[in-house]
């Protein structure tokens, strides 16, 4: 039997449905705010104002968005191959080692534009390595990638605790972090980019890794839709049996895709480590890997969708912090609830409104269809 829901036009598929999901998520979030005894409109104002009200706020929003673009791309690449990489969190965490090593090694002698490429390679290599093992286990041993990547998140976490308490911490320091990098380990801010629009970046850590994120997004698009490897990985993602028929090696694709996915996740570490903190701290990823799953879902695993979705989550992070500050009754945890609702409606329940919207389109499209089919 054919698919009961006809294909929607692209603008509805990629624009309207996510928008409806988002609006519903915010409505429910508004109810929660109401329950706490605060005015939801007020909260909405603080959210939007806190995210976009000033150049500095925008800088923070885009700083968070940079992080989520990397992790969103990471999840999306694996997703196209039919692999659900839950391990972006851990891969990003381990990727930090690559960034830190490059910076600790050269920050005193080299300028940032020499350290940055090395840090990129380092972060991607470490992230890829951390994803290689689950990929290899899936391809060769059939261990399910969802399970292994979750487990690898915990292993990564423990490993980093060890490294940051024993190995990478400066002697005599009580803080679980590396030493602070000198100029060579600090990425320049994108204040000039904001000032084009007449905005003042203030203290926001919005830095050049944003440009790298955009480049990575383009690269992912090319990889998936314009290369032979992308063709093979999509074939496997849509239909493993067709991939076998076409002589595509599942083992090879699984391992390489996981390494690319891990590499992208690892590059996320550049943003907080070289762009904001100028040192590697315990727990610097802060759940960005998991947010990446929501970003990828909401962005339909397409780079053009991932970038706006990442900015949306950047807004939730930055604007949410502002709400917590301005409205004391709303705690930081409430913000997590709101983010959770967005993930719930945009990710998990993304198809909830599809039948209704499809039906609306079907009845709406009928009159015009009658005209069109005569021509066909």
């Amino acid at each position: 039997m054919s698919n009961p829901y006809a294909k929607l036009p692209n603008w509805a598929e990629y624009g309207l449905i996510p928008l409806v999901n988002l609006v519903v998520a915010f409505l429910v979030a508004g109810l929660v705010v109401l329950l706490v005894g605060e005015n939801p409109l007020n909260a909405a104002y603080h959210m939007v104002n806190g995210a976009f009200g000033r150049g500095e706020y925008i800088g923070f929003t885009l700083y968070y968005a940079t992080t989520f673009i990397f992790t969103g791309l990471s999840v999306a690449v694996a997703f196209h191959a039919g692999l659900f990489n839950i391990g972006s969190e851990g891969q990003a965490y381990i990727g930090g080692i690559g960034v830190a090593l490059a910076c600790l090694w050269l920050d005193r002698t080299m300028p940032w534009f020499v350290v940055f490429p090395l840090a990129i390679i380092g972060s991607a290599a470490f992230g890829a390595m951390w994803a290689f093992l689950p990929g290899w286990l899936q391809a060769k041993r059939g261990s399910h990638i969802v399970i292994t990547t979750i487990m690898f998140n915990f292993i990564a976490s423990s490993l980093m605790v060890y490294l940051l308490t024993r190995v990478m911490k400066p002697l005599g320091s009580m803080a679980t972090q590396t030493r602070t990098f000198e100029a060579g380990g600090q990425l320049p801010k994108l204040d000039w980019l904001l000032s084009i629009f007449g905005l003042n970046i203030g203290n926001a850590p919005f830095n050049v890794s944003f440009l790298l994120a955009l480049l990575a997004a383009f690269g992912v698009w090319v990889l998936i839709w314009r290369t032979r490897f992308g063709y093979e990985l999509r074939t496997m993602g849509h239909s493993p049996s067709a991939a076998r028929y076409a002589g595509i090696s599942e083992t090879r694709i699984t391992i390489i895709v996981m390494m690319i996915s891990g590499g992208l996740a690892g590059m996320m570490a550049l943003n907080p480590i070289m762009g904001e903190q100028f040192r590697m701290q315990l727990d610097f990823v802060q759940g960005a890997g998991f947010v990446g799953i929501a970003v990828a879902l909401m962005g339909r695993s397409h780079p053009a969708g991932i970038i706006p979705a990442a900015i949306l989550f950047g807004m939730l992070y930055q604007g949410g912090a502002e709400i917590a500050f301005e409205m004391p009754a709303i705690s930081r945890d409430m913000i997590v609830i709101i983010q959770g609702l967005v993930i719930l409606f945009a990710g998990a329940l993304e198809n909830m409104f599809r039948p209704a919207i499809s039906r609306a389109f079907a009845s709406f499209g009928q009159r015009s269809a009658a005209v069109q089919t005569k021509g066909a």
Binding site: Y5, T227, H238, S239, R244, Y245, S249, A362, S363, G365
Partner: protein
């Protein structure tokens, strides 16, 4: 009371821009067998799904037994006395017959009493309609024909007076199909009304009283079966005259191109599916493998094409030995001159979510002419796809359209164009016309013959005996994984049918 069991008035249904049913009117008289035929995508299944409550019509009225009814889901359909036997059975494999029949019709939360009640009722139904089946047998242990009988009993148990059968003979041997028709005849004699959806014209002629023809979402004609002919129906279905018989000349077999020796293949559960099969395939001939679905034909094709590993045996393709018991790269076989049209185009031969042009290179994605280094050469891919669309008359002629949006026949043409146009030495084809409309069948058959005449060696597997007989120069019959006989083109249907049922299998005792 009306003498019409069902009347549909002005049924209209669209899915988005697809207008699946256009203002359909249909009258089915009580106590008759009413056939509905049409090509794939003509809207038969949609219409029946509306009648059975899977979909809602956008407009129109359903009248059952003189009363206008609203059928909002299958439960409402059952309440109106309409039962459906699906093409793909809706049975729980590891339940018994009795449990399946009760499923969804239990009287209470506690099953004990309803089980014994159901048993009594089932016995009565079995006797009344001569539909014997062991109530305690597990579904998975029953042959397909009996499973279908369970489906029919399920509908009768729910007191259906009107039975809809959707392509019921697709999975049956000729003998089983005959048996089904006898059952349908009995049901008719008992006053039941039967709607038979099929694309097989011969079935329509054999058992229906009236027949309605659908084409492109419209009901184009209703005829009394006795007063019509296969030719007229085919013409009504397609909208033009069709050549029902394939015209082909003598075969001119040349050198052996594919040699299969003692091939044994097991499935995932370790059950032997192909048992010590040997045959040769020569250039310029079509060898057909007949058999009821599930007797090892699929696994044989998969082993030869490198998708499934064989346990033992050897395959020589074009003079070079293929290590079928080890790891085989299907891509390497392609470059050695093997073309493969798989049985299951939806899951194997195509990626339905891909554009047409992307599917046109599936399996050949490493060919240099589609690549610029690691990048896809989009222009070359598009150009070649468009050329094949022209040559194979694939409709709609849009290389950027998602493959899922093509009809079954056109999807099959996409696969055939891809596998045939490179001129492989050996072409293996599984179910070339399954789910393909009459117009496209004619085209596909002509192409296959053409390929043979060009010196290609063609191995053809089909569960349609007519197709095997029409195309093959030699016929091998498979039963329970073995080749139980080889016949020439002069073999009768009865003779092949017996072989397919394993009756004349020489090694049957060894089973």
């Amino acid at each position: 009371m009306s003498d019409l069991a069902i009347e549909l008035r002005g049924i209209d249904k669209s899915f988005g821009l697809v207008h699946a049913n256009k203002d359909i009117n249909l009258q089915v008289r009580k106590g008759t067998i009413h056939g509905i035929i049409g090509e794939n995508g003509a809207g038969k299944s949609t219409l029946m799904s509306i009648l059975y409550g899977f979909y809602q019509a956008d407009r129109g009225e359903i009248v059952v037994d003189g009363k206008a009814v609203v059928i909002k889901d299958p439960n409402a359909a059952i309440a109106s006395g309409i039962g459906m036997v699906h093409q793909h059975f809706m049975l729980v494999e590891n339940f018994t017959v009795l449990e399946n029949i009760m499923l969804g019709a239990e009287d209470s939360q506690v099953l004990n009493t309803s089980i014994s009640k159901a048993r009594v009722e089932l016995k009565r139904l079995e006797k009344e309609y001569a539909l014997e089946v062991d109530p305690d047998a597990l579904i998975e242990e029953l042959p397909v024909g009996l499973q279908q009988r369970v489906e029919i009993l399920k509908a009768l148990y729910r007191k259906a007076d009107i039975l809809i059968l959707d392509e019921p003979t697709g999975v049956l041997t000729p003998a089983e199909a005959d048996h089904l028709f006898r059952i349908l005849g009995q049901l008719k004699d008992q006053g039941k009304t039967i709607i038979l959806i099929t694309h097989k014209l011969r079935e329509i002629m054999a058992i229906t009283d009236e027949v309605s023809v659908m084409r492109r979402g419209e009901m184009v004609a209703t005829r009394t079966t006795k007063e019509t002919s296969v030719e007229e129906l085919a013409e009504l279905m397609v909208g033009r005259r069709v050549l029902l018989r394939v015209e082909k000349g003598e075969a001119n077999p040349g050198a052996v191109k594919l040699s299969v020796k003692n091939l044994t293949v097991r499935d995932g559960r370790g059950v032997t599916m192909v048992d010590n099969v040997s045959f040769d395939l020569k250039a310029g001939e079509i060898v057909g493998i007949a058999g009821v679905a599930g007797n090892g034909q699929s696994e044989l094709l998969e082993a030869i094409s490198g998708i499934r590993r064989a346990v033992s045996g050897s395959v020589v393709l074009n003079g070079s030995t293929v290590d079928v018991t080890g790891h085989v790269d299907p891509g390497a076989l392609r470059s050695q001159g093997l073309g493969h049209v798989p049985e299951d185009r939806h899951h194997v031969g195509l990626v339905l979510k891909f554009d047409e042009s992307e599917n046109a290179i599936l399996g050949y994605q490493r060919d240099k002419r589609y690549l610029n280094g690691p990048f896809l050469n989009m222009e070359a891919i598009r150009a070649e796809a468009e050329e094949k669309i022209q040559k194979y008359d694939i409709r709609p002629p849009n290389a950027k359209l998602k493959t899922a949006n093509f009809s079954g026949g056109n999807q099959q043409k996409i696969v055939l164009a891809r596998e045939m146009e490179r001129g492989p030495d050996v072409l293996i084809i599984g179910q070339p016309t399954r789910g393909v409309d009459v117009g496209a069948i004619e085209f596909i058959h002509k192409r296959i013959i053409e390929m043979r005449d060009r010196g290609m060696a063609v191995l053809l597997v089909s569960v349609e005996l007519d197709e095997i007989r029409a195309l093959s120069d030699r016929i091998l019959v498979m039963f329970a994984g073995r080749v139980v006989g080889e016949r020439g083109t002069d073999a009768t249907e009865g003779e092949l049918g017996l072989l397919m049922a394993g009756v004349e299998g020489p090694k049957e005792a060894a089973e």
